[in-house]
């Protein structure tokens, strides 16, 4: 099977000399969980935001699920095609505060996939029960805790039956005691074979769930290793320094 994400020499620079992405080459295989780590400003978020066209790039090539994106001047329809098949979960949840939980989840299936309302709601309730929050279906986002909101956000992304899920620091905005309920939900998804790219600082999650760890700094990919090697025996000096920093 071909990789579902293939980036070749992906480059993006903001102003003279400052690279957000510097010749990034990576690939993600179907069913794989790729964990992206690195200090802040290293380009992790920028990288996964290029995967669904939220962020453009200057040069290089990107192939998502067989659809090719070039730097600029992309066909909007191609980006749209990708977005229908790739889900994303944000750091700040970004639920729609004026819609109830179930409306948040059914909005895209009804409006984008043109599903019937009853069918979409049934599927949404199923997803909510998988996330363990089906009792909140008729509530509004502001009535839920951060961890619950993030699980709703995951359910919302899953409602479109995506082939790839992107997570942009999904637990960074949560209270410490709420982190695990979200990580558990993600772990379950990984066990079901979902392909995921996860930007996170959660070492335990990376160790237990990640198939590979991608380490970035200043827009460059420093190393890509399996978690065993990365956390015990990182190949690169820069990676070891970073790991020492976050273990303190």
């Amino acid at each position: 099977m071909p990789p579902i994400v293939k980036a070749t020499n992906l480059t993006k620079s903001y102003s003279k000399g400052i690279f957000a992405l510097d010749n990034v080459c990576i690939s993600v295989e179907p069913g794989e969980v790729l964990v992206v780590m690195g200090p802040s400003g290293s380009g992790k978020s920028t990288l996964i935001r290029t995967f669904n066209g939220l962020e453009s790039f200057d040069s290089g090539q990107l192939n998502i699920l067989g659809i090719t994106l070039e730097g600029h001047n992309n066909d909007e329809r191609n980006i749209h095609r990708i977005r229908k098949r790739v889900g994303m979960v944000f750091q700040q949840f970004n639920l729609f505060p004026h819609l109830s939980i179930i409306e948040n989840i059914t909005l895209a299936p009804i409006k984008v996939q043109k599903k019937k309302k009853a069918e979409a709601e049934q599927n949404a309730l199923l997803l909510l029960s998988q996330m363990g929050i089906e009792s909140h279906a008729r509530k509004y986002p502001s009535q839920l805790s951060g961890g619950e909101q993030q699980r709703v956000a995951i359910a919302r992304a899953l409602a479109l039956k995506p082939e790839l899920l992107l997570f942009d620091e999904p637990t960074s905005a949560l209270d410490p005691e709420r982190v695990n309920e979200v990580l558990d939900a993600m772990r379950k998804l990984a066990e079901q074979g979902m392909s995921m790219v996860v930007v996170t600082h959660e070492i335990n999650f990376a160790k237990e769930v990640g198939d590979r760890v991608l380490f970035m700094d200043s827009g460059k990919v420093i190393e890509t290793s399996t978690p065993d090697i990365f956390f015990l025996n990182a190949k690169h000096e820069r990676s070891r320094k970073f790991l020492n920093q976050i273990k303190k």
Binding site: R83, K84, P97, L107, V112, Y140, P141, Q143, L160
Partner: protein, 339 residues
């Protein structure tokens, strides 16, 4: 007993704590009391309310033909009924759900009831007047200028330079003109621009002028709401594969309008009060009726009674509007917490 004692102590401390305070308090008190006494004396002994009581139909309906008065009467009653239903919050959900539709259809219904047609005899717009005309001007202008204002606000945010610049120029021009100038423009110049043979009456011209003016202000209020929306809401819609148009009307606009609601209420109340400017331009709306009654030799010099009466009517209608707006605001925020 302890309470009233505390109350006296409180007044003593606040108003009579030293000689200067006492003098100031007594002066204000004596002025206030004498004003109230005089007002009461005037209201009961000197005022002649016949100028109001004899002309009640005029204040309400202007010179609408006597045998057709049920039409404006029904329309005004519907305003009261709709307001009542909105504020008391009926238990039947079908009625609650149809309320927005009822309010939207209120203005077109008014035009139909006043102008006639479809089985009702036609009544010329010269005969429309009084409170009926005031509410007609307000409701028709409001119902058209709200969508127009939203469109202008969205236009101003557009990425297409032509649309963006046209909207900006329109909004800024309208906001730099005094309303009375726009109303004069409507009455005097619109007929010149129209092709020969096509004529529109003074009421329609007034509604067009009010709509052009108010929509620019509404556009700015809505823009305030749009700009307070975080970019992340748009992104959340984008990654779900929603079309830009769907993102605007399903996600951004509902939230932005909620934020803009208090200032939109302001515009509605201001619009109602500004319709009184049309009295200068020859429409006999509520203020115009007052002026024409005062010109009648029979009621000469009864200014104070008439203007107090008019102020009371404006006050009642504006208060009802403010109450409905507050009710709406509360509902919109309560929705999220009352479960």
């Amino acid at each position: 007993m302890g309470n009233s004692y505390n109350y006296i102590k409180y007044i003593k401390r606040v108003a009579f704590s030293n000689a200067l305070d006492s003098i100031i308090s007594l002066t204000i008190l004596s002025f206030g009391i004498s004003a109230l006494v005089n007002l009461f004396k005037w209201l009961v002994f000197s005022a002649n309310w016949s100028v109001v009581s004899l002309n009640l139909p005029l204040y309400l309906f202007g010179s609408f033909p006597g045998d057709q008065l049920w039409r404006p009467g029904l329309w005004i009653s519907l305003f009261a009924i709709f307001s009542f239903i909105t504020l008391w919050g009926p238990r039947w959900s079908w009625l609650r759900k149809s309320l927005p539709f009822l309010w939207v259809s209120y203005a077109p219904l008014g035009i139909f009831l006043l102008a006639g047609g479809f089985g009702l005899s036609a009544v010329e717009s010269q005969n429309w007047g009084g409170l009926t005309l005031t509410i007609l001007l307000t409701s028709c202008s409001a119902i058209v200028s709200l969508p127009l204002g939203i469109a202008l606000a969205l236009g101003r945010q557009s990425t297409l330079p032509v649309i963006k610049n046209l909207s900006s120029i329109y909004i800024d021009t309208m906001r730099s003109l005094p309303l009375i100038a726009v109303l004069f423009f409507g009455q005097l110049l619109i007929p010149l621009f129209l092709p020969v043979g096509l004529e529109i009456n003074r009421v329609s011209r007034a509604i067009i002028a009010f709509t052009l003016f108010v929509s620019a202000y509404i556009a700015e209020d809505v823009r305030g709401g749009l700009q307070s929306m975080p970019k992340t809401q748009k992104e959340a819609g984008e990654v779900l594969g929603l079309h830009p148009f769907q993102i605007t009307y399903l996600i951004i606009l509902p939230q932005a309008l909620r934020i803009a609601l208090p200032s939109l209420t302001n515009q509605a109340v201001g619009l109602l009060q500004n319709t009184s400017l049309m009295a200068i331009l020859g429409l006999v709306e509520l203020l115009g009726v007052g002026r024409s009654i005062l010109a009648n030799p029979e009621f000469i010099g009864r200014y104070i009674e008439v203007y107090i009466w008019l102020a009371a009517i404006y006050w009642i209608v504006c208060t009802v509007m403010a109450l409905i707006a507050r009710h709406l605001e509360q509902q919109m925020t309560l929705d999220k917490k009352d479960f």
